[in-house]
């Protein structure tokens, strides 16, 4: 009789037994926090601490200047016709996934895709749009596969104008659509005629006006500097962007006045920005994307370079394994709901905006944004505690993104999957909440943690490549 083996914990043990043809039952056992041996070196001898130091050095030392706008099909690499980008990891990724991308897509992303089909003129009605989307005629790919990011549904279709952020220190670019404002908006899955009409105004009036303005400013607009300033002004630049929006309008104001000859258009453009305190989010996000990408591909680094959700799955990528997503089901947000809505209406966590935490602000810098609790729930002490806890799982402190309330201490920078696994502390996130049905929109905002399974999976993948040393 062949022996049967029950393997507890490390997959590598199970594999070595399996190769002998022995049946192995894996038990999903995780050593308790602090008992995890430290992973210090890859099998090919790379010092992981040094690799991580290089990763955070690259993220912290990057530039992020807004240099203009462009139409997605013209400026986003490998953006093709009938292609729609969405937030989060690929929808076809999870091994247990059934069916095609459309089948695994959550309601609000479906809604946003339907809206994009109407916006592009590929369909005339929502039903036609849904049929087209389900037909296989469209290609769905993550924004993150195209140097782009998108808040919430994160849908980008070929005709949409996008901000272009340049990281001159490393020569890379990142892209994001302009923020549509509050209420019924595509990013929360709404597709009503007024949603599409606003997107058309943004394409035909807002885009050319702002593009002309930005391109007239020598060296562009330094978004990294605006983020640093906004962190002194109560924003964390993820779910609070009031200071960032104000500073951005100041920064482009004179150039806007010089390049826009029509006073009424100028007034409408300023009013559009002024009406939406989240306008800056769609600039802070691609800035974060531009800052984090240079860390991708640093051999041996366990620093997280991507955290993103598509409303179905949560996925991360790490610097040392750049092509690989580690996914788990997206969580549910605990938060404050708009009147008439509650937890039963909520879609799981969604959007690429967690790129801000990856780059050392957003939830990492909540200590500097006590007023955010009015939007996402909790009390100001929670905001302080959130940042203080995040130091435990980060490799560094930012040298430019500082928190006055913590005596100008740098925000936690560079989530290290090893530290997440060792401490059992998953990154904290703050986010908007979309209705789970297509076509409705935002119903609240709140707080949650990233699913720890993504980090343990990434840790395990690195462990396959590395040695463990007990450094206690």
């Amino acid at each position: 009789m062949k022996p049967s083996v029950i393997n507890i914990g490390l997959q590598t043990f199970a594999e070595s037994v399996r190769t002998q043809g022995i049946e192995v039952v894996d038990v999903d056992f995780r050593p308790s926090p602090y008992d995890a041996p430290r992973l210090t070196r890859t099998r090919d001898g790379i010092d992981i601490e040094m690799a991580n130091a290089e990763a955070v050095r690259r993220i912290a030392s990057g530039k992020a200047a807004l240099i203009g706008l462009g139409v997605a099909r013209d400026v986003i690499p490998e953006m093709r016709d009938k292609m729609i980008l969405h937030a989060g990891p690929p929808l076809t990724l999870r091994l247990d996934a059934q069916g095609e991308a459309w089948d695994r897509m959550c309601g609000p992303v479906r809604g946003a895709v339907m809206g994009a089909c109407l916006y592009e003129g590929w369909a005339q009605t929502p039903d036609e749009a849904a049929q087209l989307a389900a037909s296989g005629a469209l290609t769905f790919e993550p924004c993150h596969h195209h140097h782009a990011v998108g808040p919430m549904a994160g849908v980008v279709s070929p005709s949409m104008p996008v901000w272009i952020i340049e990281n001159a220190a490393f020569g890379n670019r990142a892209f994001c659509t302009m923020n549509e404002g509050l209420g019924k908006v595509l990013r929360f899955g709404a597709f009503a005629p007024e949603v599409i009409a606003k997107l058309k105004w943004m394409e035909t009036v807002l885009y050319p006006t702002l593009d002309k303005t930005v391109r007239s400013i020598e060296h562009g607009v330094d978004i990294k500097s605006l983020i640093a300033q906004a962190l002194y002004m109560g924003d964390e630049c993820h779910n609070r962007n009031k200071a960032g929006t104000s500073l951005f309008l100041r920064a482009i104001g004179p150039a806007l006045a010089r390049t826009c000859a029509d006073g009424e258009t100028l007034a409408r453009v300023i009013a559009f920005v002024d009406s939406n305190d989240h306008f800056f989010l769609n600039l802070s996000m691609p800035a974060a994307k531009a800052l984090t990408e240079p860390a991708e591909g640093i051999a041996g680094s366990t620093i997280v370079t991507t955290m993103a959700r598509n409303g179905t799955d949560f996925g991360i990528r790490i610097a040392g394994l750049p092509g690989q997503w580690f996914v788990a089901p997206a969580g549910y947000v605990k938060g404050l709901y708009f009147p008439g809505f509650g937890e039963a209406d909520a879609n799981p966590d969604m959007g690429d905006s967690t790129i801000t935490e990856t780059a050392g602000f957003g939830g990492m810098a909540m200590a500097g944004a006590p007023a955010i609790v009015k939007f996402v729930g909790g009390v100001p002490q929670d905001a302080l505690d959130a940042t203080l806890e995040m130091y435990d799982i980060c490799a560094a402190e930012h040298d430019t993104f500082l928190i006055p309330a913590l005596n100008f201490r740098g925000a936690p920078l560079g989530i290290d999957v090893r530290r997440v696994v060792e401490t059992g502390i998953a990154p904290r996130l703050n986010t908007g909440i979309a209705h789970k049905e297509p076509g409705i929109g935002q119903i609240g905002a709140g707080l949650l943690r990233a699913p720890i399974e993504c980090f343990t999976a990434a840790f395990d993948a690195m462990r396959e490549k590395g040695e463990s040393h007990d450094t206690r």
Copy 2:
């Protein structure tokens, strides 16, 4: 032989002995903190707590809307030709004062007066200006005697344009010049040709542009609301006004675009505001003035309605004794100096900007502005401590000016001279530092406390009118 009496402390005891023809020597003894009997009622029976409650109710419930601008001679009540307004109490006030106003004027106020003479065309050279000012041909009066306030030297001459702030809840108005920006500016005592040229540009370009803009906005611009928002964004709206300036530019942006047809003028106006993070100070100050004036004249109230300095004297007024100034020598500021300058170069404390503390923000709200310590010195914990201490000497907490970092607690509102005397805690101030010589300008910024003698004098004056009750 008649007895001689040594009276320690309460003046009322000495008076009752004196009326019997007995010689009394007063000893300037102050009961140690917390031993001071509480003053609870005036002689004519007014409950001081109730009077104070009414004073803070009026200050907190006022409105402060910017409704336009005007030229000082046209809009400031009792502003006459050859009249110059200045910050602080009257220069001829102190009993030990020697000579006329000009003789008691500090260097930077002299410099600003000389600049005003050049600006008005009353003199062609600084020497001529100084001669004119010393000749007695000019009238010097405090801004505060004309419903106006001015930062630092606070000089207002008849041709200068001023903001008009209306408190619609009580029907009063307040006035202040526009902020000139940083560097060499009149308010710090500079009068070089470029200072005057900038003031002329402000009169001929900035003033008509902004006046037209503001008057096109229905109900004006709600400055009180902008202050409340800025307190959520790291400003205390006295020495940090970055958020306020940004929010103000947003608030007027669309109207500015609609009312200013010339793109280049529009660009310069926006650039002027954008170049100066203190632009909003000259709006928060008259807002504070408009909010505090309705409390003046509430019989029996010991709430401070004015704190102001002319660079020579520090003066306060209280609600129950509206015509009366209580003055003491202005203090020296401990702070951060610009390169090349030090304490030996500093003029004593100066300006009407302490109206902000009187109205429940500025130094009162430092807990919400941790980044201010980069400007005035100290560490963020000092900013928190400053606000927490001020609760001890204030009668109330503001219902609109809230501090997120203190769990949205209202800022300390309504300095009660009784509490200052009982606790020995004088109000904390943060302020700019001017060079003591005319013509130079700002050399730093820092922190100090109001001289406690102003408060003990006001307390004594109220005690003359009231009864003491030991409420321990």
